[in-house]
Structure formats: C-alpha cells, structure tokens
C-alpha cells in the first residue's frame, strides 16, 4: 500500500502524518501522532471511547479513515485542558468521582463538552441521550450525569 501524506489541524495546531489508505483516524492519532488519550474500546462505533470532534461534530475516530482528516479540524481530549488548567468538566469528573478505570473518560469528556457548547443547560435526560453512545462499565452513569451537570452549572456562572 502506498502511504498517504495527510495535512490537518489537531486541537488548533497544524499537523501532518503519513498513513495507510485503510488506516483509521484513531490509529493515526494514537500510533502516528502519539495522541493516546482517545481510546479504542469496541472499534465498531458502539462504545464511544474514541470520540473526537471532526469539523465541529463528534464522531467515533475508529469509524473515520485517517485520510478523511485532510484539511479538516480534529479535536481530541488532549486539547481540552489549557496547559495545566483543567477544563471545568475534567475537574467535575474528579470532584464527583465520575470515573474508575478511566477508559471511557476521554470520550465522555469530549462528547459532554460538545453537548454543553450546544445546550448549556441540559436536563438529565438530555445528557443521558447525548451520551448514549459512550459506554461506561464502572460508574453506573449517575456520577457522570452529576459531574456533567455540575460543570454545566459552573460554566453558566451559577
């Protein structure tokens, strides 16, 4: 296979990499660029552990070809904190113990950030539906919902 040269932007910074034509964006992020925050859970778009944003929409990076990122904007968990300062969602997840093993956490944070950008004051039900594609086998979800709501309240200035 001939390697493809892809030029893209990741978390606002220009990035380029070589990839195989059938390589997923998730494999390129993790294997080529060292951005290992996005996790591979199922690899078939069911679990959401690989959630990233692509041109402003959240997607499963395991179901995107790396070549599709040419000229696009990719957002990953690595772009969430500002230097050493955690995003309110990240702090809320720690404060509310909304994680245990942590595999699902980056994907849930990326998905939750997108939700709050579109809907700053969601109901619990809206949070649950929005995150239905992010599976967590540790928390039972209640703590995740509480953490998202706490971060939402903080971000609204309450």
């Amino acid at each position: 296979m001939t390697a493809l040269h892809i030029t893209t932007r990741i978390n606002g910074d220009p990035a380029e990499f070589l990839c195989d034509p059938d390589e997923t964006l998730l494999d390129a992020l993790r294997g080529r660029l060292g951005l290992t925050g996005s996790k591979e859970g199922c690899g078939t778009g069911d679990c959401g552990a690989c959630t990233v944003s692509l041109d402003g929409r959240i997607v499963c990076a395991c179901l995107v070809l790396a070549a599709e990122a040419e000229g696009r904007e990719v957002g990953t968990i690595e772009g969430m904190a500002t230097g050493e300062v955690l995003h309110p969602l990240q702090r809320a997840f720690i404060d509310h113990a909304a994680l245990q093993c942590g595999i699902c956490t980056p994907g849930i944070l990326v998905a939750a950030r997108d939700l709050l950008a579109r809907n700053p004051d969601p109901t619990d039900e809206e949070v649950r539906f929005w995150l239905a594609g992010n599976l967590c086998r540790c928390t039972g979800y209640d703590k995740i919902i509480r953490a998202v709501q706490a971060a939402a309240a903080e971000m609204r200035g309450n």
């Binding site: 493809l4 034509p21 069911d46 929409r57 997607v59 395991c62 179901l63 070809l65 070549a67 239905a132």
Partner: protein
C-alpha cells in the same frame, strides 16, 4: 487498498466503474468501516464523496420538496427545521440511528444503500414516496427508494453508479407522516420491526391517500398496499385501525433471529402500524 477523495461525481463514477476489484463509496462510513474491520468486505478502492460540491447540502426545492445530498449527516438533517416540520416521520426515523457520534457521520443515502432490512430511515422514506437520484457512467436516473435494495446487503445499483441525493416530494397541506420501531432498548439498538406511515386528508377530513411501509419483516422494506387501503376513505376510527394492523401483520414475512421471532414480529408490526397511523393522522389534522 486505494483511497480517492473525489472532487466531482464524474470523477467518482469513472473511478468506481474502472476498478476491476471491489469498490466502495464512502459517505459517513458507519457501516463500511465496520464491515471492513470484520472482514465482510475488503475493498480495492474506496471513493470518498464528501468533498463533491453539493453532496453535503439540503436544498429546499421551489415546489416544496427537499433534495438531501448523499453526504448529509444525521446531525445536519436534524438541524434543518423546515424539513423536520414537513416530514417529521422521516426526520425522526433517521435520528433514531445510532448514537450522537454516529449521527455526526451517518447518511440517509448510506442507510438506503447498505440495504439492511432493518435500516431505520428506509421505511419512513418509502412511506413518504421518496426517490433516489442515481448518477453513473451512463448518466443520471431517478428511482423510488424502495427500488434500491435488492435484498439484504445487495442493491440494484450498476457498477459505477452512486446515489447522489435522496429526494423528498412536496408535503402539501393536511398531510402527516410518522415512524415507529420496536427495540428492546430506547437507544443504540436495531429495530425488531418498524412501520412508516404517510397520509393526506381530503376536504371532507377523511384520509384521501396513504402509504404504509414495514421494516425488518422481510428481506427488504414491504410497501403494504392493503394497510394503506384500510386507511383510505376513513378517519382512522378503531375499526379501520384494526384492519390496518391486521393487513400489516398479514403482509409481514419476517424471519426468526436473535432479535425476535416470526410470531412476535408479525404481531408487533401490526401494533406499530396502528399507532403510527394515529400519529400521522394527528399531524395531518394539526393536532399533534
């Protein structure tokens, strides 16, 4: 495998037609990449159609219809207020597919071309009388959406042909549609049975035209003329709805599989037909 990001329909169809091996169109990729990972398909060529101008747009036509480009995602369609208002059943059916992340990528044309008997948007599109625009080496043609699937995983598309848009007809006044499915879970599940209903009221308030389409109860979507006939001329009274349910159950030709039995699917599709007809009627009357 080779990857081509096509810049025009002509370039895409020419590449697909010229490929001697297995070639696949990449829209949202939510079925294709899963199939590639499981080894179901090993394409020699993938043609990404998302950068073709117009492919990611929804156009409100002058006659009241809508042209939905083949690369329009579920998320984008869900944000189109005019389309949602005109065809709520179609919009809701498409929105049921997968998670937020899948909605960010999945396309209606892909759902149709994947030719799964359980594709959620297809019964709603068939009920709506939607058509598909197909472009290929021999030029362009239009067919009814129900003509695309030949059976599970197989389509009637010829080599080099691409569905470039789904075309929804003008809705008109005093008309409504609805889509209901049964799944064990409320989210992230595949339908066991489903029904799309679209109907139009006459000046006397009775149903003047109706289409009823059944999903996941046959190798492809079933357009149930008997269920539609049971609605036409009525106000969907209890007796008419019982006849709709019976007709839908009778027309269903499901299989037993891990998601449901033949008997369960036949019973369920009748119940769903009755309920969907009621919702479509309420929407047509403006009371929903």
């Amino acid at each position: 495998m080779r990857f081509l990001s096509a810049e025009s329909v002509a370039q895409a169809t020419a590449a697909l037609a010229a490929e001697p091996g297995i070639a696949r169109v990449l829209g949202g990729g939510t079925d294709l990449l899963v199939q590639m990972k499981s080894g179901m398909v090993e394409p020699a060529l993938i043609v990404d159609i998302k950068r073709i101008p117009g492919m990611s747009e929804i156009v409100a036509e002058r006659d009241g219809g809508f042209r939905i480009g083949a690369a329009v995602s579920g998320a984008r369609l869900g944000e189109h207020a005019a389309l949602r208002a005109a065809w709520p059943g179609v919009a809701e059916a498409f929105a049921l597919i997968g998670s937020t992340q899948i909605q960010g990528r999945c396309t209606m044309a892909g759902n149709v071309c994947n030719a799964s008997p359980a594709g959620d948007s297809v019964p709603a599109l068939v009920a709506a009388g939607a058509r598909a625009r197909i472009e290929g080496p021999q030029g362009a043609r239009e067919v009814e959406v129900i003509e695309i699937a030949a059976g599970p995983g197989r389509t009637t598309l010829q080599k080099g042909e691409i569905v470039t848009a789904i075309l929804l007809p003008p809705r008109g006044t005093r008309a409504g549609d609805a889509y209901l499915r049964f799944t064990p879970r409320s989210e992230m599940d595949i339908e066991v049975a489903s029904v799309g209903v679209s109907l139009t009221l006459g000046a006397d308030g009775r149903i003047a035209a109706a289409r009823v389409a059944l999903g996941a109860v046959g190798p492809k979507v079933v357009l149930c003329a008997a269920a539609a006939a049971a609605l036409i001329g009525t106000r969907a009274e209890d007796g008419a709805l019982a006849a709709v349910a019976a007709a839908a159950s009778e027309a269903a030709r499901p299989i037993d599989d891990k998601r449901g039995t033949v008997a369960f699917r036949k019973a369920t599709v009748g119940v769903l037909a009755r309920r969907a007809a009621r919702i479509a009627l309420a929407r047509a009357e403006g009371t929903a």
